[in-house]
Symmetry: C2
């Protein structure tokens, strides 16, 4: 698997200079993505592709091939796989579709045939019917979408059964400043399924959190066993679609797998310590928090807000999702009362409105709740309003220095071009994680706590 995700050489079987072919887009992904290893276009009908010398087949290539990306028609895949096995290719990404997922039983037969070849040769295969995979830390874009290389390198591994969802989350991540270690489209899982990805990613030093998009799993027992085997090591968060009957039926058709009852999956995931979330944005939001925050040691939250309204929206979500808006310790409350006039709501949730111009007061309030043992996590909400433009700079140092001894989840929002660099700077320093609405921030904090609670059932001293 290491050679698959970090290959020294890559062959593109079905490489093309014709933009109407996927083999063109794969070549573009590798070249534009800045892949630095040996790149070998394979196409019997071309001398050079993307200006790089092409070979007619992997059999005639002089170089050792670590990874083969295959984009030839389904009918030719068995032959290609035999050649790959013969020259001891170490891993394959099979983009081609037309196997188990089609109505025709010939597709399933072909699937079995090619599985037999690579399983015998012990070659791990991502796909078939996948857009590919990306290793952001190796500048390896082994997909048909060059734009995935715009994604920020980070420590979340995204493993998805849907290319569409991978693209969706990739583009959302670009806007939300979320970074990935790897983005993997499992497709129809010839021999690399969620279970194999868990085993690999739990030991992957670039990955801190694993995010799954699941439609249906052939061998759920394998995944659950793998998740339990590594319990407590790294968080896994999963969104499974198909809660409704239509989506479920579509999933069955799309993945060629039994999608099956949604509740059974949820129960099984819970048993295995996998955090489940109900949607795509939630998946990204939860993964972002789990990748950048410590887990809280309890459900007690302090809500510190520059304006009252957003704190109410956040409190509603906190209460719905099992967090407690704690009553501060007496000394904490006394410190806050010294810093804020009675005009403000000074108990939790704290309305810091009157302290806008006074970054020392804001700092003092943040410090007070940091010191309060009843507070297990801090929700910090601040809408830009011109007059409070300095409010963020005033607490940046404190937040960085504190380094999330307890999780700090924020909704700091501003017009384009204002505060954006400061927020990114705080996120990069792991001083906080930021979300675009107070509800999403509260939800992320709730998921941190939910994960902690889940894991407690599995791992002693977690």
């Amino acid at each position: 698997m290491n050679s698959l995700f970090d290959p020294k050489s890559v062959a593109v079987i079905g490489a093309s200079d014709n933009p109407s072919k996927l083999g063109f887009h794969v070549m573009k992904s590798l070249v534009k993505g800045g892949y630095e290893g040996t790149l070998i276009p394979v196409n019997p009908g071309a001398e050079r592709i993307f200006g790089i010398k092409a070979v007619a087949s992997v059999s005639v290539s002089q170089a050792q091939i670590d990874l083969a990306i295959v984009v030839v028609p389904a009918s030719r895949v068995a032959g290609v796989f035999k050649e790959c096995a013969a020259v001891q290719v170490k891993g394959i990404v099979l983009i081609t579709a037309g196997f188990k997922e089609i109505d025709d039983p010939a597709g399933a037969a072909l699937h079995e045939e090619i599985a037999g070849i690579v399983n015998k040769a012990k070659i791990p295969v991502i796909g078939p019917n996948t857009f590919g995979m990306i290793n952001l830390h190796a500048n390896l874009n082994a997909s048909f979408t060059p734009e995935f290389s715009l994604t920020k390198p980070g420590n979340i591994a995204l493993v998805s059964q849907s290319g569409g969802i991978s693209h969706l989350l990739g583009f959302l991540a670009m806007g939300d400043g979320v970074g990935f270690s790897k983005i993997v489209g499992l497709g129809n899982r010839l021999n690399v399924d969620f279970a194999q990805m868990v085993d690999y990613l739990m030991d992957d030093p670039d990955t801190r959190t694993i995010a799954f998009y699941v439609e249906g799993i052939d061998a759920p027992g394998q995944l659950l066993a793998a998740a339990k085997r590594h319990a407590g090591k790294k968080p896994i968060v999963a969104f499974k679609s198909g809660s409704g009957s239509v989506g479920d039926a579509a999933a069955r058709s799309h993945t060629g797998a039994m999608a099956g009852r949604h509740e059974i999956y949820r129960g099984a995931f819970k048993q295995a310590g996998i955090l489940t979330v109900p949607g795509t944005q939630d998946l990204l939001d939860a993964a972002k928090a789990l990748a950048a925050c410590p887990v809280p040691t309890g459900p007690g939250v302090a809500v510190l807000s520059g304006q009252a309204g957003p704190s109410m929206a956040a409190c509603d979500v906190c209460e719905q999702r099992g967090l407690e808006i704690v009553r501060f310790r007496t000394d904490t409350q006394a410190r806050i009362n010294e810093l804020l006039p009675p005009l403000a709501h000074r108990t939790n949730p704290v309305d810091m409105g009157p302290a806008w111009y006074d970054s020392e007061a804001i700092k003092g309030i943040v410090q007070a709740v940091m010191d309060d043992k009843k507070v297990h996590g801090i929700l910090f909400l601040m809408m830009f309003a011109s007059a409070n433009v300095e409010a963020l700079a005033g607490i940046s140092g404190l937040l960085k220095e504190w380094n999330q001894k307890k999780p700090v989840v924020s909704c700091i929002l501003s017009p384009p071009g204002i505060w954006a660099d400061q927020i990114r700077d705080l996120e990069n320093a792991k001083a906080l994680v930021n979300y675009a609405t107070p509800e999403r921030a509260a939800c992320a904090m709730a998921n941190l706590w939910k994960y902690k609670s889940l894991r407690r059932n599995h791992v002693r001293n977690f």
Copy 2:
């Protein structure tokens, strides 16, 4: 109220050149916002403010004052109001805080005193304790946040009891391409409350949809009566915070109003034909759809997707929220079957994956469901993937020409800089409304249908 929102002259009472004063930010909002009427800074201690000749008080101003924006300390407001009444100011925005919302009973007394002055003089007042208001169609930024002028003019009127939520929604709207007619911070509602805003906005030609953020209402009966009075004229959508006990208590403190049981509000809003949503992003999303789409005549939805995964996520939400993923008419299905290979999921939700490179096929599929009487609305989902870069251009003409005879709600997503102009162009042409996730798109469609169902109970032939 017309003079309040579209004044020929504006006086800023408490105007300042000192950036640590709100009077500075209000002046900046008006000047930078491009207000074209007569602007009169009022401050006894300055000759000129922002380079504009200042007056010592409104009493000595030679010009007729339509709107007075007041930012002087609470103790001075009664005196200022008397002067405003004497010179027949037509409307006031009272930014100053420190009235009913503070613990001190003196605040409530002051509130009553100033209310008496303006009520006798029949001057409508936005505030106290507000950031102000903005009329995007008159370049009037009567708030302490100049950046509100960056918001796009549009046809949604946002009326909010929280400045923080107004800022939040304003900044989200900038990212989501949502435009406002007016943004109004009601604050503590001296004599302009939700009910008065309903009466005004229902006749406001710039407003098509009204969005409310509600914490607690003193006179809910008035609002409900006003909403019923104008039933069916323009949609009202509301998010009320305080579903939890903490948020509710904070709301009581923040607004000085009885916040009260959340369920009672929900029931009353439903009775009055007001659509309720559970959060800030939902409020913006629902308002965006209601402002740009026709309401569907039934719950039947066609889901057309460039990739299978996103359609499943969308279908789950549709089913949860009362929409039906209809079975197409036989002739519709036959047309789609001609355009797509069996490889794809051709029944609803339709996986248009194989038609990526074939914009004529995509066009044919869209046309087929447009013609299907069982389809009341179209969900169109398309993730950019390099190879499908032409897919959007191919259907733009058809979508524009069709002009949403049935609502078209989309999730078309791409990396920064790709498709953004085309999506904006389609939105500006009212050919569709676009959202960043399939779930948000599905939710917006569900809210269109929910609104239609709500209104049917009130208005015959709606």
